[in-house]
C-alpha cells in the first residue's frame, strides 16, 4: 500500500490500492476544497512533489493539460498512487482534519 505524505501539514496516510488521493485523505478524516469528485472541475489540483500516479479514468485536456502534468500538477480526485507519493496543497490552509475518529479507525485498519 502506497504512503501519501503532505509534509507541510505533517500528514501521512496509507492509501489503499486503487484508491484515489482524494478518497484516501477523506477516508482518513481529512477534507479540503473539492468539487465534482469526478475529474471535471479541476478544483482539486495539488502539486505532486515526489512519486508517481496514474489516472484511473480519462482526464480532459481542458481540466489538466500536458504541460501541467509535466510540471507536477496532479488531479487528486482521479489520481491513484503507484509509488509512495508526497504532495503539497495548493492553498496552505486548505487541508483540515474533520474527523479524528475516522483517522484513528483508518490507522487501526491499516497499521
Amino acid at each position: 500500500m502506497p504512503k501519501l505524505t503532505v509534509e507541510a501539514h505533517g500528514v501521512s496516510v496509507e492509501l489503499r490500492d486503487d484508491e484515489t488521493i482524494l478518497e484516501g485523505l477523506y477516508r482518513n478524516g481529512f477534507a479540503y476544497r473539492i468539487g465534482c469528485r469526478r475529474g471535471g472541475c479541476a478544483i482539486c489540483k495539488v502539486d505532486l512533489l515526489q512519486g508517481e500516479v496514474f489516472y484511473n479514468r480519462p482526464v480532459a485536456d481542458s481540466v489538466l493539460s500536458e504541460s501541467e502534468r509535466a510540471g507536477g500538477t496532479c488531479l487528486s480526485c482521479r489520481a491513484v498512487a503507484v509509488t509512495d507519493v508526497s504532495i503539497a496543497m495548493r492553498e496552505d490552509d486548505d487541508l483540515r482534519r474533520v474527523s479524528t475518529l475516522m483517522a484513528l479507525y483508518a490507522a487501526s485498519r491499516t497499521g
Partner: protein, 304 residues
C-alpha cells in the same frame, strides 16, 4: 409566444460508458439514438426525440437548443439576433439528428445557442390515451423532463438583454449589487413562460456551464432521488434543500465526468406582469441555499 422551452442540452463526457450508465440508470432517461460517439436521451414526460445529448471526449458545455412554436418564430429571432450584433448562422435539418432547420447564435462568451421549431416526435412514455400517472417501471430517479440551465458568463447584463430583446424572455429574479437603478447585475433568472427560469446566467471569470436541471414531480421525488444517488454513489454537491431564489427544491449532483446536474421542483407561477424579485449580495447565501443560508465552497467556483 416565440420560444416554448429549453429543448436540449448537449455536453461532453470523458467516459461514454460511465456517462450512459448515469443518464440511463441513475437519472432514468430513455436512450433514443446512439450515433457518431453521441448518445441521445429523452425523459419519460417528453415527447420530442431527445432533450439530452452526451458526447465522448472532454467535459462541459457543447450547446443547447430552444424549441420555438413555429418556423416564423425562429426567423424572427434570427432577425433580432443579427440586429443585436451576435453572430448567427443557419443550421439545416439533420445537422442535429431528428432536428429541423434552425439557427445557431454564438454569444460573446462562446456559448452556442440553437433555435429550432421541429424535432421528430417520439411520444410520451405513458402515451396520450387514458394515460397513467407515470411509467410503471421507472428507472433510477425517473427524471420526467429537462427544465433549465445555468451558464457562467462574464457579462450577465449584456446576455440577459439579448434573451429579453431577441427571444421574449424576462427576468423573474436577479442578484444585483444594490437596489439602485444603476446596480450591476450579478445573476439573472430568465423565463419564457410561467416557470421561474428556462435559463439563468451567473457572473463568472470563465464561460462555462454551472449546471443543467431536470424537473421533478415534487419534494418527495427529490428526497427519493437523493436516496438513489446514495445507492449509486453519485456525488451530491448539496441537498436536498431549497433555493431562496425561485423557492424551488433541489439537489445538485455530478455526472461521472463532473458536469453538474440538478433535480428541481416547485417554484411559483410567473406571469409576465409579475415584478422581478431582487436579491443583494449580502443575502446571497440564503438566496442560493435557503436553509443553510451560506454558500458552500463549490457554488461559485465549480463548473465545467
Amino acid at each position: 409566444m416565440a420560444v416554448m422551452r429549453m429543448g436540449y442540452m448537449h455536453v461532453r463526457v470523458t467516459d461514454l460508458a460511465e456517462a450512459k450508465d448515469h443518464y440511463a440508470n441513475t437519472v432514468g432517461l430513455y436512450q433514443t439514438l446512439e450515433q457518431d460517439g453521441r448518445v441521445y436521451y429523452k425523459g419519460w414526460d417528453e415527447w420530442d426525440h431527445h432533450s439530452v445529448v452526451i458526447e465522448e471526449g472532454g467535459v462541459g458545455y457543447v450547446k443547447c437548443g430552444f424549441k420555438c412554436e413555429k418556423p416564423e418564430d425562429v426567423a424572427d429571432i434570427e432577425t433580432k439576433a443579427i440586429a443585436y450584433g451576435y453572430p448567427v448562422e443557419r443550421m439545416v435539418a439533420g445537422e442535429n439528428p431528428e432536428v429541423g432547420d434552425g439557427i445557431r447564435v454564438t454569444l460573446p462568451t462562446g456559448h452556442q445557442i440553437e433555435f429550432y421549431s421541429q424535432m421528430t416526435a417520439w411520444g410520451l412514455e405513458v402515451g396520450t390515451h387514458n394515460p397513467d400517472a407515470f411509467p410503471r417501471h421507472m428507472v433510477g430517479i425517473g427524471a420526467p423532463r429537462l427544465d433549465h440551465a445555468l451558464l457562467w458568463v462574464d457579462d450577465v447584463a449584456g446576455i440577459e438583454k439579448f434573451f429579453m430583446e431577441c427571444t421574449g424572455m424576462w427576468a423573474t429574479e436577479r442578484v444585483q449589487t444594490s437596489l439602485d437603478d444603476d446596480a450591476h447585475t450579478i445573476a439573472t433568472w430568465l423565463t419564457i413562460g410561467e416557470s421561474n427560469h428556462d435559463i439563468a446566467l451567473l457572473e463568472a471569470p470563465e464561460n462555462k456551464i454551472h449546471h443543467f436541471a431536470f424537473e421533478m414531480r415534487g419534494w418527495s421525488d427529490i428526497l427519493h432521488a437523493a436516496d438513489i444517488f446514495a445507492m449509486d454513489d453519485t456525488p451530491i454537491d448539496i441537498g436536498p434543500t431549497r433555493h431562496g431564489i425561485t423557492r424551488g427544491t433541489t439537489i445538485y449532483f455530478f455526472d461521472p465526468a463532473g458536469n453538474r446536474n440538478e433535480t428541481f421542483s416547485g417554484g411559483y407561477r410567473c406571469f409576465r406582469d409579475r415584478p422581478t424579485v431582487v436579491w443583494t449580495p449580502d443575502q446571497l447565501g440564503k438566496a442560493i441555499f435557503y436553509h443553510q443560508r451560506e454558500l458552500n465552497d463549490r457554488f461559485l467556483t465549480v463548473a465545467t
